[in-house]
Symmetry: D2
Subunit: 498 residues, 4 copies
């Protein structure tokens, strides 16, 4: 009888702290052995993969993914279903996603929102998945359901917005969310842009007849983000240092504000995304409607800002590099970017451009190819920290024998692939473009393995897994760093201490 | 014929930069001569005052005064009319006030609000006066009237609120105000506290049955102020560095934020008030309802914070020391502090305590007696800068022969008065208490002179002037420091530069 | 034949990123397998250790250790030889030390200094060891030897002093060292205290007849350290961002300065020590001469400062927690603390108290017992980062099968040991006191294993290893984080870019 | 008999706080009356000057002037004597200078140094003058003389250097100076550049054969200045917040460090100079030896830095704008810039270029013409603050009747002069160039009046005064702002408080 289901030999294994030549053995969906390189080559195994010296990393964990969400901002709607989105994930080396279960303002229950989202994802995912609650209506009922969310449903994080009419919470609502999240050890993700200012700038720009895609960037001026970031941190601080995560941070002043809070010992976490490392304002400022391909919020910033975001990734300001995959088709006037075109507005109206870009598949290859982080840092921010922050660790995000799922990416040996040109053709989402069209890449996942099963075999059929293999993941509370320390030290929020 | 109407001899004159023994001569309401000390003693003058070595300072200019405003927050209403408030001012050495002309949210015109306020003040003021527009409804009509306000009506400043349901503007509304203010060289005063957070804390405190006056302080936690201050600065910055003034700054983090903006060259100005220099949290935390006497917003802070505010006054963070006189009677269940008492709430409900304290008369004596500033700084922050910031200079705020109004305070010689105990008995407002009851003072205005006329003669009848002598002052645009430099350098707000 | 030399079963293994129940197998001095917990219990192994649920951590790596250095500051001399010091290390869970090879100012060669130190350590060490060059005379010859040091001798780090007459380098000398270190990828450790200021304060204190041990603390006022830290960072920055490590950081302002540099992307690293986490100024201020037991430089600081140092450890400001073991006997008038006592100076003269405290054995137990860090952070700062920073990784500091030496500490299961009282009796150094006498500890290394051999068996004989088993370690260049990135990006120091 | 010696009518008088049309009357060397504009036109006066609407400002006070100092750095020696330097001052609107009385390292007495300098200046100065002691040897005797300096000799300030072999004090020496200065209420001026680093960079540059004048700028890299500034502030702080003044600040990081200290309430003052507002690095980087004309220390910086220095001037970081007049002839191989040329070094060796530039005459016209400050700020930083900081106020620096000396500058009415081209021809120093050759100016002093006497009449003979009219000024202790507050609050330096 075979000792192992799968052995990967001759790879260089990477965790958030180690890089070393090691063989990996898999049995019953788990990693069961790490052994000196080459030592498992001859073992009895159902399948043997020779990594030929390539890196072997834990499967990517992407915890900022929008899939099949209902239209909340107008005509655009998500180009990807759970099926197509997770297919794209797996082809790009991501084995776990945490997507959003959106509560709309008209709904008073978050559990209902969760149930609805389960419907969409069930038996429809190539990778393992979990949900964050997207809370748009923190009414008493919704708040009262937080306990069940966390303790029973395995949903230990939620996202709130400081912008967008359909989603924006006022500061008092944010405080109510934070207080209840604190009570239940739920992590609150915050989209920090000042919605009132955005609305005002949008009106001013439209009044001045500035409609082109690039003005999306003007309407989301950097100070919207740094202001809201400061405010979010203040609110966290007010509720006796309740942990928050600032998502998709794009600009240096916000990053510095976050860093200052971390320096002071506050439980402030942050995420950035490939669009802030690989795109700039120039990508928005294309002739005609082309810039719409890069319309997302916050928008790509200047080249100098990009450097600062890289710096923040390296110095630990950002715990996470997520995709914020939020896909809309470009050449589609029914559900995509072009819904905002009309005879009156031949280059569209930036305010109505469906807001988001695809990136679930390109996240890891872009970051890997940039060679601007150590490999350990790459694994840390794209997998391990995400697993820890969202309560999936140690099952996900690491390579611990007997403990970690056998979620693995086998990369090509250095240089083996030559330069790849990234084009939308090679991607597996249901979107008709990628904002990174034409970029050169140095590597790509050769195999993506989910719980021991090869789901992606680039040279042997591409997506070879099955869309019903992905499982829903009930998540524990966050364990990243000392995230709950202030909560434990301070105890329950105490009005007398104000 | 007399050469002069009035001569003050043997005084030590103080301006924002100089301290020197000088004689002052007055003719036709103006200062007409500064001469070597003693040299005018023998001149032909209608009246001669011998200052006996005491200081002679420009009349106080108090540009943060609430008089006879309509009830906007519930049952309390202003204890002082223009008559009683300005009587109190003059007795405390203040010769000019700028009070608020409040536009309520239900009103779409600021000019109407201005007209209404003129009615109240006309022939009813012991001192000269001007108005700031208090803008609660920045609708299109109101904004369109800004030009007339500034160019015709002599109203070159306005105040807006980031808190209080009846007054709070959203950030987009603030931006509209700033943009129009910029166009008309109007200075925007901002009450910076986060109203949504205040509302939430108030609800939390009430839900926990914490009603006593001291919880007013808890509900206005320091971070409300520093957060809103940061936001206000961000909004100013967004509108191409439009000048703003943060009023009644009470806490160190806000002061440091302001200082950082000033360091960076932004046109951010700030004011503090005696309550943040002479009261603390302990004054709020009195047995029973007593603490209500010190309920104002922001509230008095900790002793350490007080030190930081003094530091800010000395290092120039604060251009102004104003009173924020906002008087309510204490022992008055119809219009005063006690309107919030009931059988159910024997110590009241802090949320309904009329919010404000009297201080127009005590501002100068307290600050003078503290001996914590140089005399030049004392004059600078209580008179000269106020005159400059609010477009009254050089007519007010200085001692320039032929140019400045003969608005003067003659103080007692050092030690001549012994220690005075401040009690409400000696004050001239229509309020039944002072929050500074029992404090020791070293000096008090001996004479207050408005445009050459003695209005206050402490040893010769007290208030000896006439309530119709005060004149309305049309104000020019602000001239403090380089306040409009960024406006001139940047030019009109340009959306393309965002 | 046995498959393994040693198996540890039922332990909870910890690395800098993972905590998990795992069995560990050892063969030929290396870790060769990590396997699901319990799975190796029955394997063929020469020795089986049942960890009974206790933690298993990589052996401690202590890279700040003074052993058998010649007297450079007066009468005191090191109480520990390599034998006794490393015996103490091993009993406290430390399997690798990097000690100093001191070049005296009178010596022009660093290679000679290195050779001398080899003599002392050879066949005389219970643990593996390396050397940092302590450079007191960076003359041309010494600088010219840096290349051989790094490339041939395996000495890839050096330490310099900004204080102490016998060692202090002027800023120009520091620059020469940094420039040559940069060329050879050598890491420069800096003792950052302002020596000139120390000398002046010492004279002032003595002139005022303030001789007691506590004045050692006064003479090393915090600002000496923050000033020198700022200067060291400036010097690093000047030489095109050459990496430096600030050793034994004790005070918050220095920590914040370091953090600011890290935020800005500069290659500034830092270390703190148990004395700044567990001792305070009060420990220095004991009756009579007792405080001399805690005389080290920098001195222990205030309780508030301690908190800030803990914060810096948790937020990543400090990469390392080292001992700065620098032992002198207390009750010893020939070579110890009491050499500074005399009839004239019955409580000694603080300036002549031999400067340093023992701590090599207590470092890990104190830090472990404090329970103020996550276990991963504990391993990171006491072992992994030290190994990476000093070029010993992955051989030391991790648990990688086939790669890492089998250097392991097996701790007692939680609570198994009860509270231990730390007394000098239980320690293995050749010092007659510990500054931590009487502290309560929750745990202690049960077994310390060096390259597969049990060296310390607390319940089975104590130190059971052999003083000739420790090996000299040639070290590679530092690999911590992106330490050489700025060097690579900037290239050689370029005067034209100044 | 004439009532007045001199009347200036139709001028616009400016002080540090006021700008107003006023007539000025002078009698017996003093200002005796300020009167409404035009009102003194018809008075009985020996002389009447019609300012025709031009500004009338207090005479310039320039407290950073090097005159007739001995060679201390090699071959160069001062081009100006007291006679020629003060002649130049008066022609540029400066009526008071404070120059340096240099103690050389070989001299143990500062009183001797003072006596020597008196010899040079006596009966040889067109303007009033005082001395700062330049302390190069703070030995016991020199320190013991501080009391006499301040109390008897009227020398209440001194300057020390952190650079230049001939002058550099070590940090311990600086502390001794500060301590003694504190005891005697003496203000310590500090030239803050790191001399050891300068020496090292100079050697490196020379070793690389980089000798041209522009490398002077490289050798004085900005970080030398910000480092030393931080150190100086640390030393002041250590001696219980003893006041210091950082002279000739040229770069933004130093300015921000100073500002931070001021924000924290420390008694840190600062000065900048025209060369940091009007010259840049490009002026140093001229073909051949031309750049030597702009060699001074610190050197001119980048255009962005210049902006930051202007910002610091406007926001109050800098109390003073002084000239740092330090004149060497250019085309002079005996005593001037060209002493460093030789056949071997055809563009000289930057290290030997006499270090300094002339500027005593151009300071006011350049600053006035720039129109980048309000007029009150112009007077504040060029006259009033200097008088206050150096104990000359209110005799100098203001316009107080009966109190202030009649030191006045009458400027041309706006536009009356057209553009003037600044060339060395029109200057009155004994230097053969000006670094500002060819600049356009909008104004120039029309009359300079010293104690009532016209010394400079641009349209009526130029320098019309007499070189023996200038008087030595015994100075009081500094009175700028709250300069001695920390000294009074803290009391004598207390070692127990360290
Ligand atoms: Zn978002
Ligand atoms: Zn998103
Ligand atoms: Zn207010
Ligand atoms: Zn108010
Ligand atoms: Zn050291
Ligand atoms: Zn050490
Ligand atoms: Zn200098
Ligand atoms: Zn100088």
């Amino acid at each position: 009888m075979d000792e192992f289901d799968l052995v990967i030999t001759n790879g260089v294994c990477v965790t958030a702290t180690d890089v070393a030549p090691l063989d990996v053995a898999v049995k019953d969906e788990k990693i069961v052995r790490l052994a000196p390189s080459g030592s498992l080559k001859a073992s009895r195994t159902k399948r043997l993969i020779d990594a030929e010296g390539g890196f072997v990393t834990p499967g990517g964990v992407d915890c900022h993914v929008h899939l099949q969400e209902p239209s909340m901002f107008g005509k655009g709607s998500s180009a990807d279903t759970y099926e197509t989105g997770t297919r794209s994930a797996i082809a790009g080396g991501t084995t776990t996603v945490v997507a959003f279960a959106p509560q709309q303002k008209s709904l008073d229950s978050v559990l209902t929102a969760l149930a609805n989202t389960h419907e969409l994802a069930r038996d429809n995912s190539y990778c393992d998945y979990g949900f964050h609650l997207l809370v748009a209506n923190p009414c008493a009922r919704a708040l009262s359901e937080f306990q069940q969310l966390a303790s029973t449903e395995g949903v230990t994080s939620l996202k709130i917005y400081m912008t967008y009419e359909a989603l924006q919470l006022r500061d008092n609502e944010i405080l109510s969310v934070l207080l209840e999240a604190r009570r239940n050890s739920i992590l609150t993700m915050i989209h920090a842009e000042n919605g009132d200012v955005l609305a005002w700038l949008t009106e001013q720009l439209e009044a001045a007849k500035l409609f082109a895609p690039k003005y999306h960037g003007h309407s989301h001026a950097p100070i919207l983000e740094s202001e809201a970031t400061n405010r979010a941190i203040a609110l966290s601080s007010l509720v006796a240092d309740t942990p928050i995560l600032l998502v998709h941070v794009s600009e240096p002043a916000a990053a510095l504000r976050i860093r200052a809070a971390q320096t002071a010992g506050q439980p402030i976490f942050a995420e950035t995304c490939p669009q802030y490392l690989f795109l700039t304002r120039d990508d928005l400022d294309q002739p005609g409607f082309e810039g719409a391909k890069c319309v997302c919020a916050p928008p790509p910033r200047d080249a100098e800002d990009q450097k600062a975001i890289w710096r923040g990734l390296r110095n630990g300001t950002f715990a996470l590099l997520s995709s914020d995959h939020c896909p809309f088709r470009f050449d589609d006037a029914e559900t995509g970017k072009k819904t905002c075109l009309s005879e009156e507005y031949p280059v569209g109206r930036f305010r109505h451009i469906p807001n988001g870009i695809p990136g679930i598949e390109t996240r890891l290859p872009l970051a890997f190819s940039a060679r601007k982080m150590e490999m350990t840092k790459f694994v840390e921010v794209t997998s391990t920290n995400a697993a820890k922050l969202y309560g999936l660790y140690p099952r996900k995000g690491s390579l611990i024998p007997g403990v970690s799922d056998a979620d693995l990416v086998v990369w090509y040996p250095d240089g083996a692939l030559g330069d790849i040109t990234l084009t939308n053709d090679i991607l597996h989402h249901d979107v008709d473009y990628t904002p990174y069209e034409g970029r050169k890449l140095q590597n790509w996942p050769r195999f993506t393995i989910l719980r021991g099963r090869v789901m992606w075999d680039r040279d042997g059929g591409g997506v070879v897994g099955d869309k019903s293999y992905g499982e829903f993941l009930k998540r524990q509370k966050s364990t990243l760093n000392a995230i709950w320390d202030t909560v434990q030290e301070e105890g329950p929020f105490d009005l007398e201490k104000l």
